[in-house]
């Protein structure tokens, strides 16, 4: 098990470095300067600024310099938010995004799995087709549609919840739910599909023959192998929640990492963009690693093979 984790971690390093280099180069090649202001910039001032932030010289030199700094743990300074380092910005904003994301992640799984199991237990009946329609509706309703509509209805219409901001528990409710809803449907469908497949297998027939009740059969015996496709989806789910978070933070004015990323891209804030992409990459690789590890844990066949 340990060798599996180390091997995966080691093989991820070149990928992360390649993405980081690609991102850095893209932002540097792109037209527009991070130092651009309303007035035309004096070339001497520009050269001085570039010198100061380590952006002088050829692209290759800049890249090598940046790469070296990152390997030493220095992500550089933000070019637009003067006087703040990228590490500082990420350190402040990432925990907020992670909190929001993990609540939505739990909501999507916590509601999606039972709904899917319920549908599978009533396969072919009215409950099943009703739940299917609900699942299809939620997965056709993207986060960026839900967010403004829910603000309109629940914040301004019914005046139940605050429309935006960060800090109190009630300000968390709308963003977390909006971020989770599209994925509840996906989780429910995956669970239902997995369960229906498992319920047809031999060990279920055996269990039924020895007199296990139908409820126990679905929720205890079949659910464990049936959640395997769902576990494999955990990585992409994390990625989707991450990107969905960009919109949610925009609409609900959450000072999270997504806001800084979007601003960074627009401002050509090269160190900030590269730093955030690095964090995103690491997070996703970590999630995929955990998902693979869980798959091996849950599936005796894969465990035996590795």
């Amino acid at each position: 098990m340990l060798s599996f984790v180390t091997r995966r971690l080691l093989s991820s390093i070149p990928v992360v470095l390649a993405v980081l280099a690609l991102c850095f180069l893209l932002v540097r090649i792109a037209p527009g300067s991070p130092f651009a202001t309303e007035r035309a910039l004096d070339p001497r001032t520009k050269a001085m600024l570039e010198e100061k932030f380590g952006l002088s010289g050829s692209l290759a030199e800049q890249l090598v310099r940046y790469g070296g700094n990152v390997l030493r743990g220095d992500l550089g300074d933000s070019l637009k938010f003067r006087g703040r380092t990228v590490a500082e910005i990420i350190g402040q904003s990432l925990p907020r995004s992670l909190l929001l994301g993990s609540i939505s992640f739990s909501l999507a799984l916590g509601l999606g799995v039972p709904l899917g199991a319920w549908a599978a237990a009533h396969y072919g009946r009215k409950t099943d087709s009703f739940l299917n329609s609900v699942a299809l509706l939620t997965l056709s309703t993207p986060t960026f549609v839900l967010a403004p509509v829910s603000v309109l209805v629940f914040a301004f219409g019914l005046k139940l919840l605050p429309p935006a901001g960060w800090g109190t528990l009630s300000q968390l409710v709308l963003p977390a739910i909006c971020l989770a809803i599209p994925f509840i449907g996906v989780c429910a469908r995956l669970t239902r599909g997995g369960l229906l497949e498992t319920l047809g297998s031999d060990f279920i027939r055996t269990a039924r023959a020895k007199g296990v009740t139908e409820t126990k059969l679905v929720y205890l015996h079949a659910l464990r192998p049936a959640v395997l496709p769902l576990v494999a989806y955990a990585g992409p789910l994390a990625a989707n929640i991450l990107t969905g978070s960009l919109v949610i933070e925009e609409v609900f004015a959450v000072p999270g990492i997504g806001q800084f990323f979007v601003n960074g891209v627009i401002n050509r804030d090269v160190f900030l963009v590269s730093g955030v992409v690095l964090v995103y990459c690491l997070l996703l690789l970590l999630f995929n690693l955990i998902a693979d590890w869980l798959t091996a844990l849950l599936d005796p066949r894969i465990r035996a093979a590795s």
Binding site: L26, V27, A30, P163
Partner: protein
């Protein structure tokens, strides 16, 4: 393959949607960019869905938006289809170390925040592409540089799943007798791939198109919502929704600017997802 009744209804709705996108703007009495003094009128008999901040008719804008959203969807999905099928065919048919390497690459891309990279790509290269196109034969397209980047960028996001599916299919198909015999009579590899194997994977590819289409439409709207996708004077459904969302305020929000774009977007995505479900079910029945 016989169409079920619900599939026919869904296809009819899709036809209506296309009709509205193509003919709607011609039929409408208003021009899409036409500014007027009728700012923020609620829905009425003159403006069925109301007007926006600049007095433009929302229904007309939505029908123009349908053109953009559907166009990006179709082209983006087609690009992902092309890349995915070619990639999967080559990987599956070659097999061995090449296959291994190609699929490892797909695995790696799967684990990356692809849409984030597309954001970086699109928003940064817009001006560059515009400058490149100017002065060449393609100068008329220069104003739509952003749209071209969207096609390519989103097409390149969605091909991974298809590559996996096609490869898995090819792995089993290439061992079947008819492929072996065509190799025996000396058909070249490209001919075998196109004439023998491609027709076998096509049904799955078509089904997949109904999955990729809503995915690309969704991603385009997502980018446009953030202000990183389609840009003025063009407007997609995502742009219109973003316009509405920017008018949100506690005193008096023009609700129609949010509710109608939202409803159109959800309705369209639901339509494509339902259609995909039907096609897959029919495919499963036919396979039995």
């Amino acid at each position: 393959m016989k169409l079920t009744r619900s599939a026919l209804i869904l296809l009819g709705l899709l036809g209506l949607l296309l009709l509205a996108a193509i003919l709607g703007p011609i039929w409408s009495p208003y021009d899409v960019g036409e500014l007027s003094d009728n700012h923020l009128l609620p829905p009425s008999s003159h403006h069925w869905l109301g007007t926006d901040l600049h007095g433009r008719d929302l229904l007309t804008r939505l029908m123009y938006g349908a053109r953009i959203s559907l166009l990006v969807g179709f082209v983006g999905a087609s690009i992902s289809l092309l890349v995915g099928v070619v990639y999967g065919l080559i990987a599956g048919y070659t097999g061995g170390r090449v296959d291994n390497l190609m699929m490892r690459f797909v695995d790696v891309l799967y684990a990356l925040p692809r849409i984030v990279l597309v954001i970086v790509l699109i928003s940064l290269f817009d001006l560059k592409l515009k400058a490149m196109l100017d002065g060449t034969l393609f100068a008329p397209f220069a104003t739509h540089a952003r749209l071209l980047l969207l096609f390519v960028g989103l097409g390149l996001v969605e091909w991974l799943t298809l590559a996996r599916i096609v490869r898995a299919q090819v792995l089993t198909i290439k061992e079947r007798p008819f492929v072996l015999s065509s190799r025996l009579i000396g058909q070249s590899t490209p001919v075998i791939l196109v004439r023998q194997i491609l027709p076998q994977v096509l049904p799955i590819v078509i089904t997949y198109l109904t999955l990729a289409l809503p995915a690309v439409i969704l991603e385009e709207s997502f980018l446009s919502f953030l202000g990183l996708g389609v840009q003025a004077p063009l407007a997609s459904w995502g742009t219109l929704l973003a316009d509405g969302a920017s008018m949100l305020n506690p005193v008096e929000t023009p609700w129609w600017l949010i509710v109608f774009p939202a409803a159109v977007l959800v309705g369209c995505l639901l339509l494509f997802n339902l259609l995909g479900d039907q096609l897959r079910r029919m495919g499963a029945d036919a396979g039995r």
